[in-house]
């Protein structure tokens, strides 16, 4: 699997006595866009946090372009070229939009090029008109977009998004889908989502989690047609069917 950008093998984690994830085998190719779906408590966010380095696995490992990430701090994983957007928007509320983005690009570019790089990111994400606004004063949807801008500002090759469309209006959701599709032109993406309409707007391949393991993988249509997936979402216990 040497062409995989990211791969997880036998990944598992337990908290106290609870086995949150077991035996996860996952491959992501360069430039791929994958959506992770599944009911609440299935382990999607836990898997996400294992990828970002916020959690350490108790079994198995994750590699990004061959580098094992277990034991790496989140900032080290970020430096491998991974952009991360957390479930709860994590931005610098006390600073302005352009100051936020400046911090993101400045680590990559030198001081003279930083200004231009900030303008570029503002343009790509359509945030020019908000550049001087303090982020804490923006609406929820706008803050999510600022976070997306931060994620792409450091020109990552892999982007991890945890519920990027959460709490957004229909128009905002469409705009976010466009942004993500645009981002996908330059990098691979893993998107954790609940909103099935949003998933259908962006997804190529989908991975369904359930009860701490991967239930099925496939295209959106395949997965939605799969009766096991319907059962999982409707709550019917799989074992009882036998």
């Amino acid at each position: 699997m040497s062409e995989s950008l990211l791969s997880a093998t036998g990944l598992g984690i337990s908290f106290g006595g609870v086995q949150a994830l077991t035996g996860i085998d996952f491959r992501l190719a360069e430039g791929e866009l994958r959506c992770l779906i599944g009911p609440n408590g299935a382990g999607k966010s836990t898997f996400f946090k294992l990828l970002t380095g916020q959690y350490r696995p108790t079994a198995g490992c994750v590699t990004i372009r061959g580098t094992v990430t277990a034991g790496l701090e989140p900032y080290q994983i970020a430096r491998l070229g991974v952009g991360i957007k957390t479930q709860v928007p994590s931005v610098f509320d006390g600073l302005s939009v352009d100051e936020n983005i400046w911090l993101a690009v400045r680590r990559i570019t030198g001081a003279p090029a930083a200004r231009n790089a900030v303008f570029d990111v503002l343009e790509e994400t359509g945030l020019e008109h908000l550049s001087a606004r303090q982020v804490g004063t923006l609406s929820h949807g706008q803050r999510q977009w600022v976070e997306l801008a931060l994620v792409v500002a450091s020109r990552p090759s892999l982007v991890l998004l945890d519920e990027p469309a959460a709490g957004m209006s229909d128009d905002e959701v469409k705009r976010t889908a466009q942004l993500i599709t645009a981002i996908n032109r330059h990098c691979a993406l893993i998107v954790v989502e609940h909103d099935m309409e949003f998933v259908q707007m962006i997804a190529q391949k989908v991975t369904v989690f359930n009860r701490g393991s991967i239930l099925v993988e496939g295209t959106v249509d395949e997965v939605l047609a799969d009766p096991r997936v319907r059962d999982v979402y409707l709550g019917r216990d799989l074992e009882m069917r036998v």
Partner: protein, 345 residues
């Protein structure tokens, strides 16, 4: 807004500081009597101390309950240095370097151990207590470092004070001492403003704003906090060294809780998140304490305690927002890309 106007706005506080410092140095010595000048000198020294905490807490988000640990380390480092070397320049360098070393060790222990804010308060409080206890227990001639007898709770009296670098015989008089302290204060203030406008300072503030996001952007937040902590320790040490000079004396009270408490009160009263605020708060409270001392019947602890409680309850952001409101309004009218320097008064 054209370029020259923008540049002037960015550098206004620095410029104002330089003007104030030059004025103070040139005008005050002839305008006031020596006794008052000596008072002003200690105000300047304590203002430097307040800046150390203003930086660490207001911008770095590190509420250090034991800032006196670095102040005291600076004072004692100076004392031990000057008694051994016989010349004050190296001793003053030690007064800055030793606290920075202490801060590096302590900071590594705290920030790389991921302890939370409250625990940070406990640890810093504990360290200052340890140092206070240790300093107190060194009575007796056997406790000496080189030629310097530590003196226990009596302290180390009759310290040689600052001399012109290179000529141990030429000691500075009180006017020159005042001037040196004002120059140090102005330099620290201008230095911190410059630091906060640079990449390092901006990341420190970002780490305070949202440590997780700073990490996710690829910055090792622990290193930036450590850096801010070490710089803050060095500034406090500078103040401590100057203080030992001012009284030609040092004793364990420089490590005391009261010393740490004062710094916290100055920053709260002046305004957490600004540099000038704590300087003003420091000078105001120092003046108030001296004034209460002349009255005699009002206990300073009572007044300080009351002030602290009232400020936390009613004016948690301190005096700075009120004092600087007119300036802030002017600055906020026009804000540009990357122009966040205007927000550091």
């Amino acid at each position: 807004m054209d370029v020259s106007e923008k540049a002037m706005r960015k550098h206004l506080p620095t410029f104002a500081c330089l003007v104030a410092a030059v004025t103070a140095i040139c005008v005050l010595p002839s305008a006031v009597e020596t006794f008052t000048l000596v008072e002003f000198t200690v105000y300047a020294i304590m203002a430097i101390f307040s800046l150390s905490l203003a930086f660490a807490w207001g911008y770095g988000g590190i509420l250090c309950f034991g800032q006196a640990a670095f102040f005291g380390a600076g004072a004692y480092a100076y004392a031990i240095g000057v008694l051994n070397v016989g010349e004050s320049t190296v001793a003053m360098l030690l007064a800055v370097a030793v606290p920075m070393l202490l801060a590096t060790v302590l900071g590594y222990f705290m920030f790389f151990g991921r302890i939370s804010d409250v625990y940070l308060g406990v640890v810093t409080l504990t360290v200052t207590l340890i140092l206070y206890n240790l300093a107190n227990s060194t009575s007796g001639d056997q406790y000496r470092i080189g030629a310097a007898v530590l003196g226990g709770f009596n302290g180390m009296p009759s310290l040689p004070t600052l001399n012109v670098p290179g000529s141990p015989g030429r000691l500075l008089d009180s006017v020159q001492m005042f001037q040196v302290c004002v120059v140090c204060l102005a330099s620290v203030y201008i230095g911190l403003r410059a630091l906060l406008s640079a990449h390092f300072g901006r990341v420190v503030v970002a780490v305070r704003e949202n440590e997780l996001r700073a990490n996710l952007l690829g910055y090792d937040a622990r290193k930036y906090k450590l850096g801010a902590f070490v710089i803050s320790g060095g500034i406090a040490g500078l103040a401590g060294g100057l203080f030992a000079n001012w009284g030609a004396f040092t004793s364990p009270t420089v490590f005391g809780l009261a010393q740490s408490a004062q710094a916290i009160i100055w920053v709260i009263v002046g305004g957490v998140g600004t540099l000038l605020g704590p300087v003003i708060g420091c000078i105001a409270i120092q003046w108030l304490t001296a004034y209460l001392g002349t009255i005699g019947w009002v206990n300073p602890n009572l007044v300080l305690g009351l002030i602290l409680v009232l400020f936390v309850l009613t004016i948690p952001k301190g005096l700075a927002p009120i004092l600087f409101m007119p300036f802030q309004w002017l600055l906020r009218q026009r804000s540009q890309v990357g122009n966040h320097e205007g927000r550091i008064p």
